[in-house]
Amino acid sequence: MVHLAVALEGAGWHPAAWREPDARPDELFRPRYWADLVLEAEHGLLDFVTIEDSLGAPRDGRTDRVDGRLDAVLIAARVAPLTRHIGFLPTAIATHTEPFHLSKAIATLDYVSTGRGGVRVRIASSADDAAHFGRREFPVPLPDLAEEAGDWVEVVRRLWDSWEDDAEIRDTATGRFIDRDKLHYIDFTGRFFSVKGPSITPRPPQGQPPVAVLSHVTEIHRLAARSADLVFLTPQDTDEARALGQEVRGLRADLLVFGDVVVFLDETEQAARDRKARLDDLAEFTSDALVFTGTPAQLADQLLAWRDAGLSGFRLRPGALPHDLSAITRGLVPELQQRGAFRREYEATTLRGLLGLERPANRYAGATR
């Protein structure tokens, strides 16, 4: 069985996607648009959606591209109550945000989705992004940013554990609402910041919502191994999928390893190529991930080869929305199901459950404050 996720980004990953006939570029900032996409992904029984985000904006003065975005955590929260099974991994930027705020935000996403929250953590290395906060000198070397992001996740995770599951007692005899011995200061002190705790939000339903990182280089592989449950990798072919998978699993054996692929899917290979060429004529498109054009059956072949090379799942980036998303849910998914490689119904009620991750014990349980 493979795990399947989609990465939602604006009108799709191709910069000209917004001009397609079925695109809804005037609705990119409306809740209905996001709800429709996620409901479609849930219809396809996908494990989760990621939602791209950034605290910056390109300043190149172009007017022919989708511009502007909404906060990804808030999009996820807005859509979650409308769904029942699919997981949400909105992007959070570790570099400029407060781990205290994001810890409670993702915990709350987990509450409003009853156990389907998670987070994809990003680093922001650009000086433009830093100028929006104005508190730090940039550039900062990548190893430092990675270490800071690792500390950020450590704080977020400690805060999730800072309440034991049974801390709320409502003991009328003693008048105590909580057993404060089951609440813990996290007392994190690092190179970049320190945080006291405990969280103001009780431990989320999943205990630890899944954390994901997209990685292209060794420093970030290490961050993923230290901090994440899932890593998104960008192999270009099967050999590279095998090698990259081995490299990160060598750093940590139980990491879930997903391959990222940008997809343009149609009923014939020619139709997919033609469609992509038409979009390329309108705007240049380059990608860090493999760009796949072809049929759902061809994509299934490719994904299963990568699975056999050791990947646990795939995060597909639809080239154009909604076209390539529906091609995933209505074309690829049945194809994988026929081959016995994808679920026919949701088998768990939490995101950790879908990913085959146990609910973790609380690191502080049994400890005294």
Binding site: P25, V66, D67, P81, E98, A107, R135, W163, R180
Partner: protein, 442 residues
């Protein structure tokens, strides 16, 4: 006749919330938030309201465990509530000290889009190093800078909201023009608190800016509200205190070129309903003693005395000892302690009150802290609320039910129809945005 504005405060971290009641549900499960928000929307309330505290309260060096503890993230829960309501305004308390304007402006602009125009922001200014220990910069702000930072924070956020015009997005597939204005989002801001520049990346929300509420009672706080807020959240709950406060803040408006209707005064209010006034009074008495257990009463006194009073019997007389002035505060993370800035005078008053009425410690605390604003039959409560509004003690109320999440239900079912009959509260929403509900300009 003035129209009344009503909002629903989610009961939370305070000793108003009775968690021991058999009807009390979860204060953290989303279903509780949905319940209260849907009740408020069914009753055509203006908005739903969330308070916030960014560090768990402590008392004598230990986490305070007698009240409800724990709350969700403000933005996340409001965005989720936008999915289960259509018209209700969604306002959240967000601190201007432990945040950065770029991020908060993004979150409010996003919430305004995702709720299609229903976002509101209660700007608070707690500044203490105790809370600051949870944040990157640590130590935080000298108290006297709290409103300077709040002012500059809000001004910066406004610049960011205004950096996009309503028509900046063309999204014209045929011509390939997505952005009509290549400069959309450009900003540059340099002042004593913030030194930032770049491009704001959220297009203008349906309301342009979220509705702004202010909570804070000092002279500076009132000036800040008069200058910039659309509504002010206050604790002045009695008719006389309300009228005095109302006149005071409305008098400050002309200096900022504003008119009285541009700043609504919305006190927090609690209520207890019964079939008759007598029944309600009886019930209110029960609720007061549920809110103030013996242990709670002792801790309450300790906040003001600022010393250990655990040896005292809550059913006995007030302590003979004097308050410890100037020592490190026993209670941390509580806005409430700021109400008693002169503990010696407070203690003297309380002793006189206890003497005159023959009150035990617990009785006294019930008397000074647990009082419900409105107690009576639905008719009595509707009449009282209307009187407060028509006689300029307020423009409406932010109602704080004492039970989660069903505490507002009887109010919605029994009091709201009476206000509607009197023609002082809307029978249905006439607009879709929070600004429209509140009757304030964009």
């Amino acid at each position: 006749m003035k129209q009344i504005h009503l909002a629903a405060h989610f009961p939370g971290v305070n000793n108003t919330t009775v968690w021991s009641d058999p009807e009390a549900g979860s204060h953290i499960e989303f279903s509780s938030f949905t319940h209260l928000a849907r009740t408020a929307e069914r009753a055509k309330f203006d908005f739903f309201f969330l308070a916030e505290g960014l560090r768990l309260r402590e008392h004598a060096g230990k986490i305070y465990d007698l009240d409800v503890v724990g709350r969700p993230d403000t933005f996340t829960v409001l965005a989720a509530l936008a999915a289960v309501t259509d018209r209700l305004g969604l306002t959240g308390t967000i601190n201007s000290t432990f945040n950065e304007p770029y991020e908060v402006a993004r979150q409010f602009a996003s919430l305004d889009h995702l709720s299609e125009g229903r976002a509101g922001w209660n700007v608070v200014t707690s500044w203490d190093a105790f809370t600051g220990e949870n944040f990157r910069r640590g130590g935080y702000l000298p108290e006297e800078q709290r409103y300077q930072r709040a002012k500059l924070f809000l001004q910066t956020a406004f610049e960011l909201f205004d950096s996009w015009g309503a028509d900046d997005i063309a999204a014209d597939k045929a011509s390939g023009v997505f952005l009509r204005n290549a400069r959309a989002g450009a900003f540059e801001h340099h002042d004593a608190q913030f030194d930032i520049a770049g491009r704001f990346n959220v297009p203008r929300g349906p309301q342009g800016r979220p509705v702004i509420l202010q909570a804070g009672d000092s002279d500076e706080g009132r000036e800040f509200a008069a200058a910039t807020a659309d509504a002010i959240f206050t604790r002045h709950g009695t008719l006389e205190a309300g009228q005095k406060f109302y006149a005071d803040v409305k008098r400050r408006l002309p200096a900022y070129g504003r008119e009285p209707h541009q700043l609504l005064v919305l006190p927090a209010a609690t209520f207890v309903l019964g079939d008759t006034d007598a029944e309600a009074e009886e019930l209110a008495n029960v609720v007061r003693y549920q809110q103030v257990s013996g242990q709670t009463a002792i801790k309450f006194l300790e906040q003001v005395w600022n010393r250990d009073l655990s040896g005292y019997d809550p059913e006995g007389p007030l302590p003979e000892v004097e308050p410890a002035v100037g020592a490190e505060a026993v209670a941390k993370g509580r806005a409430q302690t700021r109400m008693y800035r002169d503990p010696v005078a407070t203690v003297r008053q309380w002793r006189e009150l206890a003497e005159a009425k023959n009150l035990s410690i617990r009785d006294l605390v019930v008397e000074v802290s647990g009082r419900q604003t409105f107690v009576g039959s639905p008719e009595t409560v509707a009449e009282a609320i209307n009187t407060y509004v028509q006689e300029d003690a307020s423009d409406g109320f932010i109602l704080v039910p004492h039970v989660t999440p069903g505490g507002l239900d009887p109010f919605a079912d029994k009091v709201v129809p009476l206000l509607q009959e009197r023609g002082v509260f809307r029978a249905d929403y006439s607009g879709t945005t929070l600004r429209e509900h509140l009757g304030i300009d964009r």
